[in-house]
């Protein structure tokens, strides 16, 4: 029983991580049809933001030391959002309607960012100290412990997805975004400044990648190639969820996370990975548009 609970929590935790890394892509890939291969590198930059901020807070000492992580969240968001907006303005704008070219261009940008990080911070991994208030966990029964970091990530994802949903549904800017993505020409004819919407949306997606990077810094490696470990999974989630569907993305993350945790426990990590791919492919054969198909006319 304990093991079942533990694995259920692991599944939830894995799903939250998948959702966190895929949420930004759901915007840039889902809404804009830009295949952003540099998404992983934006996460890497987010993780390095945590690393850079840590020594600045060292003089504070004591429990205040942990504040560096709180400060890193908005800073990472802003840094990567600005970079993303810049990338959209300088590169992607010229590749509108050529999704395959955006794949190549952003992959190249990703390589440049990786090598830049390598030159700037060195090739070896760097480490950060987990803030004191995120160390340890809640012990429910005997060997069932819920680490604070995992709970924090789950909470962070819930907040992020709520904010993104509110932004898209409840704000004027969000409405303009959806209008542009549904029919660019008519939106433009009605006075929406579509280039500006593109830049903002892509910036927002990249900023979310930066946020994800902060969280990943606490549970995984921080190095120049960090992004490459997550990029495939995040695309998998977005495609399974259905293009442009924030809710679909969430369901897909839970499905993939759950399947992974279950299969890995019963079989092995390598086999689980393969089976999850097979299941996703089979599902897309059955429903090519993903879990939630787009209803709007194109």
């Amino acid at each position: 029983m304990e093991i079942v609970l533990l694995q259920a929590f692991n599944a939830l935790s894995l799903s939250s991580i998948l959702l966190l890394i895929a949420l930004g892509l759901a915007l840039s890939f889902g809404l804009m049809r830009v295949i952003n291969m540099a998404h992983g590198e934006f996460m890497m930059l987010g993780a390095y933001t945590v690393y850079v901020l840590q020594p600045l807070f060292a003089p504070l000492g004591g429990p205040a030391l942990g504040l560096y992580f709180v400060a890193a969240l908005p800073l990472a968001f802003l840094t990567t959002a600005l970079l993303g907006a810049g990338l959209e303005r300088l590169v992607l704008r010229h590749l509108v309607h050529r999704p395959l070219d955006t794949l190549l261009a952003t992959w190249g940008v990703g390589l440049v960012l990786q090598q830049a990080a390598r030159s700037l911070f060195g090739a070896p991994n760097v480490q950060v100290t987990t803030p004191p208030w995120l160390q340890g966990g809640i012990t429910v029964t005997g060997s069932f412990t819920m680490p604070y970091i995992r709970l924090f990530i789950i909470g962070m994802v819930l907040v992020a997805i709520l904010l993104v949903w509110l932004y898209l549904v409840r704000t004027a800017a969000g409405r303009r975004t959806r209008a542009t993505m549904q029919n660019r020409e008519i939106a433009a004819a009605l006075g929406v400044r579509t280039p500006r919407v593109d830049m903002l949306t892509f910036g927002l997606g990249s900023g979310l990648a930066g946020l994800a990077g902060c969280a990943l810094a606490l549970i995984g490696p921080i190095g120049p190639s960090l992004g490459t470990y997550y990029i495939v999974d995040s695309f998998l989630v977005v495609i399974l969820g259905g293009i442009g569907q924030v809710v679909g993305t969430a369901i897909a993350a839970v499905a993939i996370g759950g399947a992974n945790a279950l299969l890995e426990f019963q079989l092995s990590a390598s086999v689980a990975k393969v089976l999850v791919f097979v299941l996703v492919i089979a599902f897309l054969q059955w429903r090519p548009a993903g879990i939630i198909a787009r209803r709007a006319a194109r």
Binding site: I3, N10, A123, P124, P147, A261, A269, S270
Partner: protein, 428 residues
């Protein structure tokens, strides 16, 4: 790929410059600080073998991944080899000639390793090459070195079962790391083993060896798990480990997966006193990347630690930090890369030539006072006699040595001296 092109042209430029600089130095101002060897240069005593480049220069190749995933580990080994070359040059060079390093980037890509090895041997005509890290890269360059009769000094512990006449193995064979570590754990009363590794050749071969050894010595394997390289979520694996209740996790994970595994192990409340792990691919450099506070108390088996107490090591660590910065650390593969350069230089001095056949002959039973202690080249299999150590991670990321063999252990890459290994070989 723009990044790669620009780096290549940058390197070409750098080589051009350094070559021009060396030519200028070698041409007009021979270093006066070398008293005896200089007169020897005009009378070349048997300068056979790969022809040296400019007069008074012996070209040597360095072939490591300076970009891509493996650059994390290999860049530091390159640094150590460059340091040894600089030291040897400052002391007058080899056979009175300066060493000129030619650095190539294997880019964490095995075909690139083979291509660059060929380039170093055929185009640059280097006397020897120091390089590689992964077994895959070594296997990729091996046919090139055998075909062109080159010489490779390979600095990393590996799974054994190989002995090429064109390779000197300066890292540990399995019987100098894995086998003694298992023996020690059993002696400590830890008999229930959980084998965790990355899914590729080294961990799988290593675990075959461990399973055979445990079967003979009365240990039990309570679980065996492989995760893909770059795997980042270990919560499920940790659940499985918890369920299996092992005495020790024998860890052959490689690369960044280790960071995820140890961080998540700590988050799950499993510190070293509740679940002990022993790793064979985590050295000081990796501990620094994982975070010492996450790894405190866990064990690693190596031949060398930065804290190893020898006068040679004090000198080496001081020199390395002086050259590359106080913040840098040394570790086992770094030391093995460093000592490889010295062993080659000694062998060349003994042979009086850089020709591969003569260097190989001269290297037999060659001894060297390395930072890890005195090592000796094995006369047959070209591995090294090395001491074996087990260390425990300290809060500062260094290791406390808790056990060592004291003297050097004979390398046995094919595990011929172990009865239980016979079945293992029959099985493959």
């Amino acid at each position: 790929m723009p990044a790669r092109l620009s780096r290549r042209s940058f390197l070409v430029g750098t080589f051009g410059l350094s070559a021009a600089w060396l030519a200028a130095v070698g041409g007009c101002a021979p270093p006066p600080a070398t008293p005896t060897p200089l007169p020897a240069t005009p009378t070349p005593v048997a300068r056979a073998g790969p022809a040296p480049g400019a007069a008074g220069v012996i070209k040597v190749g360095i072939l490591h991944s300076l970009s891509g995933t493996m650059s994390i580990s290999e860049t530091s080994v390159k640094d150590a080899e460059m340091l040894a070359i600089e030291e040897i040059n400052a002391a007058g060079g080899v056979l009175g000639q300066k060493l000129e390093p030619i650095v190539e980037d294997g880019a964490s890509d095995w075909p690139t390793f083979a291509e660059k090895a060929r380039k170093l041997l055929q185009q640059d005509k280097v006397a020897t090459v120091f390089g590689c890290w992964t077994s895959a890269s070594r296997k990729a360059v091996l046919p090139v070195f055998e075909q062109l009769n080159g010489l490779l000094w390979y600095p990393v512990q590996y799974e054994g079962l190989e002995a090429s006449p064109n390779i000197f193995y300066t890292g540990a064979a399995p019987n100098q790391q894995i086998v003694p570590a298992v023996e020690w754990l059993l002696k400590e009363g830890r008999t229930r083993f959980y084998l965790l590794g990355s899914d590729y050749v080294f961990p799988r071969t290593a675990n075959e060896i461990i399973k055979a050894q445990l079967a003979a010595a009365g240990g039990v394997v309570v679980g065996e798990e492989y995760t893909p390289l770059g795997h980042t979520d270990y919560s499920t694996v940790i659940t499985k480990i918890k369920t299996a209740r092992p005495d020790v996790v024998f860890n052959t994970l490689n690369g960044d997966s280790n960071v995820a595994f140890f961080k998540q192990l700590r988050d799950a409340g499993l510190t070293a006193d509740r679940l002990l792990t022993l790793s064979v691919s985590i050295a000081e450099e990796e501990v620094r990347g994982i975070g010492p506070e996450v790894m405190v108390g866990h064990l690693a088996a190596w031949n060398y630690f930065q804290t190893t107490d020898t006068p040679e090591n004090k000198r080496f660590v001081a020199a390395y930090k002086r050259r590359y910065g106080e913040g840098r650390v040394t570790d086992d593969p770094i030391e093995a890369g460093y000592l490889g350069v010295y062993l080659w230089a000694r062998a060349v001095e003994r042979a009086g030539a850089t020709e591969v056949a003569r260097v190989r002959e001269a290297a037999r039973n060659l001894e060297f006072a390395a930072p890890e202690g005195t090592v000796k080249v094995h006369e047959k299999n070209q591995h090294l006699w090395k001491p074996v150590r087990i260390g425990r991670v300290r809060p500062d990321g260094q290791f406390d040595e808790i056990w060592s063999t004291g003297s050097a252990v004979e390398p046995d890459p094919f595990l011929e001296r172990y009865a239980w290994a016979a079945a293992l070989k029959k099985g493959r």
